[in-house]
Each structure stands twice: as C-alpha cells, then as structure tokens.
C-alpha cells in the first residue's frame, strides 16, 4: 500500500509530458515580440476547438457531419446578440452561445439521427446551407450581409481583455478546458458507449447501449463546443458576417480533421495547427501558396489515409510512473480504413 505522500509526486510524474506542454504554451508567448505569431496561435486555438468538436462526431461516434460551420456561426451570432442586445457579460454570453448552439444541435439531431450514414451527412450539409441563407437574408435580426459590427471585447468579472496576449491566454484556457472535458467524457461510460457505437452499432445496441440517445447527446455536445469557439471568434475579431460561415468553412474543418487524424484528442489539434500554419508559412509565395496546401493534403491522403496521428490513441502519460494501466484503443474508425 502506498501512502498518499508518495502517490502525489507519482501523479505529477505520470502527467509530466502533458504538464510540460502546458507549461511551454503558457510560458513562451510573453517572450514573442512579434504579435503576428501570437495572433496565429490564437487562430490555431479557435480551430483546435472546432476540429475537436467535429472529431467528437466524426472520430468517436462515426457520424459524418459536413456542415459543422453552422454551429460555429450560431455560437458567434448568439454570443454577439446576447452581449450586445441583452447586455449580458461575456461569460454568460459564452455559456449562452454554447447552449443555443447545443439546442440547435438537438433540433437537428432528434429527427435525423434515426437516419444513418450518408443521409445524416446530407442533413448536416443542408442545415449549413440553410443557416447561411438565413443569416444572409434575415436583415432585421442578423443585419444580413452587412454583418454585426463592434462586438464588445470579452470581460471576465469586470476585467476587459485588450491585448493580444490576453486573448491568447483566454483561448489557451478554453482549449485546455475543451481537451480536459473531452478526455474525461471519452474515458467514462459515455465515451465507451460512443466508441462501441462506432465500432459496431448492432453489437452496442445488443449490449444495452441506447444508441440513438447517445448519438443525440454526442451531437448536442459537439454543437456546444463549436458554439463556444464561435463565441470567442465573435468577440475576438469583433466583426461577424455570413461570409465567415459558409460551407467552405465546414470543409476546412473536415480537411483539418482528415489531416491530423481522428479518433483521439491529439490528431485534431495537430491538424488544425498544421493547416493554419502551412498557408501562413508559405505566404511569400503569394497566390501559389495554395498549391502547397492542396499538395500536402493530397500527399497525406495517398501515403497515410488515416491522417498524421489518426487510427489509434496516444497516451501522453509517462506510463513508467503510472499506477493505472494505459487505456489504448488500437482500432481506428470505420470511415477511413487503415492504409
């Protein structure tokens, strides 16, 4: 029997890799003098949350959603409206944006999740298109194509964010919360049930998993996270218009997920980071830089169909010091068979 005096440092040691990554992410940015790099990091953060939320559906449950930008848009507009018209403080607007996006997720999921495969995919695509048209045409509420201007900066209990570094720490906190909460979800019964549904829906149902209910819950959760990212985007860029939430945006998210690999929590973040960094890094090439972007994606699909880190789980724990056995699911997902 170990005493708690020894177990505590062991817990620290086992989590040392994760903790050191967080420490680097928290400690390095204040020393970056060129704010452009900080801004790039902020955008990576936004897209990391979005890709992680899409991963919940595509990677863990195996529901192919290709209209995820719709929930991102709902989050952005909801948050802007809540803080500007109702005067809610940002923290409440953020929660509200997530809740409203989640509610729309429920509205879409409830009637359509009895469908499977391509039918559900088409519904998500259609929903994205309809939502874009609503944002574009509902002049009195969304100000149509003119967009919503001067969204206030986030204020947290009276502290108003102004510098880019503060935005960076806010998005870092949001990304960490997302990863942590998803990690907890995926290692409890809920996550096991989702994985079971992905691996074999019939078998899952036979062992007593209420598949429809779990799929709806996953959909609502994914919409919730996308709404959170939308809220941050609205208060960060301070101008939102329907242009930013077209079906194209959904495809970018899918590309990030396909590039980084799905079914774990690291792949989506790596994918988001890579596909933000590649076009930025090749900016000196001007219009030819998108060749690199497309080329990298094609090469990836040719040589590694499951994406950079897809197809299996990775443990960031230092297992030598881990008292609990490592939990690794070896199989990938069924949409992208192993190459």
């Amino acid at each position: 029997m170990r005493s708690s005096r020894i177990r505590f440092p062991k817990f620290l040691l086992a989590n040392a890799p994760v903790l050191s990554i967080i420490a680097v992410l928290a400690a390095v940015p204040p020393f970056i003098t060129n704010m452009y790099y900080v801004q790039v990091l902020v955008f990576i953060g936004i897209y990391a949350i979005l890709t992680l939320s899409l991963n919940l559906l595509n990677g863990y449950v195996g529901l192919l959603s290709i209209g995820h930008a719709a929930f991102y848009a709902i989050g952005a507009y909801a948050s802007a409206k809540l803080s500007m018209e109702l005067g809610l403080p940002w923290v409440l607007a953020l929660a509200g944006a997530g809740a409203i996006a989640g509610f729309f997720g429920y509205l879409i999921a409830k009637p359509t999740l009895r469908l499977s495969g391509i039918y559900l995919t088409l519904v998500t695509l259609g929903f994205n298109m309809i939502l874009f048209l609503v944002l574009q045409n509902w002049m009195s509420f969304t100000n149509g194509p003119l967009g919503i201007m001067d969204v206030p900066p986030p204020s947290i209990f009276g502290f108003v964010l102004s510098s880019r570094l503060q935005y960076y720490y806010l998005i870092l906190a949001l990304v960490l919360l997302t990863v942590l909460s998803m990690h907890r979800l995926m290692t409890c019964r809920f996550g096991r049930a989702l994985t079971a549904i992905r691996e074999n829906e019939l078998a899952a149902e036979a062992t007593g998993v209420d598949t429809t209910r779990y799929k709806i819950q996953a959909f609502v959760l994914a919409a919730f996270y996308a709404g959170i990212a939308g809220s941050f985007y609205a208060h960060f860029v301070k101008y939102i218009s329907p242009d930013s939430f077209t079906i194209n945006e959904s495809f970018i998210l899918l590309a990030m997920l396909a590039f980084g690999g799905q079914g774990n929590l690291i792949g989506p973040i790596v994918g988001a980071a890579a596909l933000i960094l590649i076009p930025e890094a090749f900016r000196p090439l001007q219009e030819y830089r998108m060749f690199v972007y497309g080329g990298v994606l094609i090469v990836m699909m040719l040589v590694r169909r499951q994406g950079l880190l897809g197809g299996r789980s990775y443990s960031l724990r230092w297992t030598r010091f881990d008292s609990a056995p490592a939990r690794i699911y070896e199989r990938g997902d069924k949409f992208l068979p192993e190459g």
Binding site: N34, M35, Y36, Q39, V40, F43, L133, Q136, N137, M139, G144, P145, L146, G147, M149, D150, R164, V237, K238, Y239, S241, D243, S244, A274, L277, I278, P279, E280, A281, F282, R283, P284, Q286, E287, R289, M290, V292, V296, V299, M300, V303, R304, L308
Partner: protein
C-alpha cells in the same frame, strides 16, 4: 512501420521548413514598404490580381523616378483569399513589420472591416480601393476609401433616374450582399424623396440562376425604369430571361457592371443599359488617358475599374508619402488628409472633407454592343 515514420517525419519537416521560410529576413536600413492585401486566390481572384498589377505599376514608376526622398519603395503582397480571418492575420503581419508604412486593401468589405481594428490600433493607414460598406471608414481614424460609396452612388443614380430621365414608377432588383443592400437602400430613399413611386424591391441571393418569378412580377407592374444593383453574371441572366419573357424595361444599374463580360454574356438583351462609372477608358481627362495608356503598354490589356481604383489608391498614398516623408505611420494619415488637387484615373480625390471622397462619376451606356459615353 519505418516507411510510415519516414513519411510522418517528412511531413513534419516540410511544415517546419515552411515555418522557417516564413520568418521575415532582417531589414536593410532605410527600406520603406507598402503592404497590399488582396484576394489573389478564391472567388475574387480576378479582382485581386487587378489590384496587384495596378499597384505594382505605381510602385515601379515611383522607384524609376528615384523613390521617395531617395528611398526605394517595396511592395509586400499578401493573398487574403477573400477570407476575413486571413485578412486579420495579414494585418497583424503588416503592422508587426516596422518597415511597412501603410497598407492598400482589401477587396471585399468583410475582409477589410475585420482587419480594420488591427490597423487602427497600430495607427497605420488602411486604404481600400473597393470596400463599400458605409460603416467601415467610421470604425477608426485611419480608414480611407477610393471608390464612391453607395451612400453616394445610390442617390446620384436616383437623381439621374428621377430628375434627368423623368421616370416616376421605379422597380429595383438587387443582389443580397452588403453592397447590394446599401445600393438599393440609398437609391430608394433618394428616389422616394424626389417623388418617385417604388413599385417593387426584389432581392436575390448571390448565385441564384432562375429569375422568372421576379420577372413576371415586374412585367405585371409595368415600371418605367428598373434599377439593378447587380454583378454581370446575375445581371445578364436576369435580362436574358426577361427578353425571353418579352419584357424589355429601361434599365439603370451600377458601376459594378462595367466589364466586357456584360456585353459578351448579355448580347441584345442588355442594349440601352445605363450605368455611372468611376473610370472609363475613353474618358477624355488626361489622368484617365495616361493610366489607360500606361496599363495597356505594360500588360497588353485594357484595364477595368478595379485596376483603376487600385491605381488611385496607390497613387494617393505615394503622393501623401512624398508630402510627409516616410518616418512615421501616423503621419501618412495627415498626408492623405492634407492632399490637394490630386487627379486620379477615377477623377479628383480629396480627403479634406472626410475619408469617403466625393467622386466624379462618368455616365455611360451600352449602344450597339459597346460601352459608350451616355448622351441624353
């Protein structure tokens, strides 16, 4: 396994190499740069490349004449894809480079507006050739516009329609984007004030192909004039379908249609269309003539108005730099406001009264399949 690891390693290496290539090289002392943010790829690539050609032309000319106070100008071009988040990153990149003194761009209003707070905070001039959103220049003190806004062009067209053409029963068809909504709103407001009756205001979504419902409605209402803030693809589709429905209205539209594409795709259906333009190739003013000649000599094609507007944006910027020097970003703003008697390809430009210039519009129309100066 080894093969997989090698591929993964290659990918990571490629990304890292790109990251290193993206770092800016150390600055040579006394270098002055101008940033250009424009959609070189994506839906608006054609217009972004017009910007690139016209602005490079101005910069090359200045450098050939010895630069500004002996300093050469360098153009830094960045592709925004017409995406708001890219233009924000470009703005950050530009303001972080101390050698960049001012920025030209972007093309679309949404990209321009999303980037505006970054430029405002850095006190760097953001001069857009084409962004037409009314509220953009109100977002800060450093936003300058070259194009006539719809707040200006709309009422101008209304006076043309109601006072000069004596049309009293007017219908409008407009594209539902930020530009079209403004264009319609300001036209309708002024036309009503002048005593015209607006019998219909019809919006359509960008990309729509079938306009038969709108056309049969308008045909029934028999307007004296149809005002159409649209772009050439929609405009020619509407008029071609109207012709098939035997509906041939008198049409007044916007500078956006000024392109050979309108003539090619519209054919007989667009005959008689009247529009005001910022720039017209056979405009007799010397500034416009010089621009047309230079552009044609350099690139071998006739310039369009987007090129002309970008040419003027770079032109006023260079004139301002000549007046106040290249020491501080904030002073460029004073230079632009203090500018007097600047003659551009799109007419005289002055920012003394505000950062939305009053423009001289040229009236033109389609006659025998050609754009010609409008004569009553």
């Amino acid at each position: 396994m080894i093969k997989k690891m090698a591929v993964t390693g290659m990918m990571v290496g490629l990304i890292l190499a790109g990251g290193i290539a993206g770092l800016e090289p150390a600055l040579a002392a006394g270098e002055v740069k101008i940033g250009l943010s424009a959609p070189l790829t994506g839906d608006w690539a054609e217009y972004g490349n017009d910007f690139k050609r016209a602005v490079s032309m101005v910069i090359d000319k200045v450098n050939k004449e010895g630069g500004i106070n002996g300093k050469k100008l360098e153009l830094v071009i960045a592709d925004s894809r017409g995406d708001a988040k890219e233009s924000v990153l470009i703005a950050e990149k530009f303001v972080a480079d101390p050698a960049i003194i001012a920025q030209v761009g972007d093309f679309s209003s949404s990209s321009t507006m999303a980037a505006a707070p970054v430029y405002e905070q850095a006190k760097m001039v953001q001069i857009s050739p084409t962004a037409s959103h009314q509220d953009w220049t109100k977002k800060g003190e450093f936003m300058f516009r070259v194009v006539a806004t719809q707040g200006y062009e709309g009422p101008y067209n209304a006076r043309w329609a109601v006072n000069d053409l004596k049309k009293k029963k007017i219908a409008t068809i407009y594209i539902n984007n930020d530009w079209g909504v403004d264009a319609n709103k300001y036209f309708v407001g002024e036309a009503r004030r002048l005593g015209a009756e607006i019998v219909a205001e019809e919006a359509f979504t960008p990309g729509e192909k079938d306009f038969n419902a709108v056309i049969s409605k308008l045909k029934r209402l028999e307007p004296d004039l149809v005002y159409m803030p649209t772009f050439y693809a929609d405009f020619t589709a509407i008029l071609n379908q109207a012709e098939r429905a035997r509906f041939k209205p008198t049409v007044l539209a916007n500078s956006s249609l000024f392109s050979v594409k309108t003539l090619e795709m519209g054919g007989r259906a667009v005959e008689g269309t009247m529009i005001p333009v910022n720039y017209f190739g056979s405009d007799p003013r010397p500034a416009a003539q010089n621009f047309t000649k230079e552009y044609k000599a350099l690139y071998g094609t006739d310039p369009n108005q987007f090129a002309a507007l970008a040419y003027d944006a770079a032109g006023v910027l260079v004139a301002a730099l000549k007046a106040v020097g290249t020491d501080s970003r904030a002073r460029v703003r004073e230079g632009l406001i203090g500018l007097k008697g600047y003659e551009g390809a799109t007419g005289p430009i002055s920012y003394a009264e505000g950062r939305d210039p009053a423009k001289l519009l040229v009236r033109i129309m389609i006659k025998n399949g050609q754009w010609v100066l409008y004569k009553p």
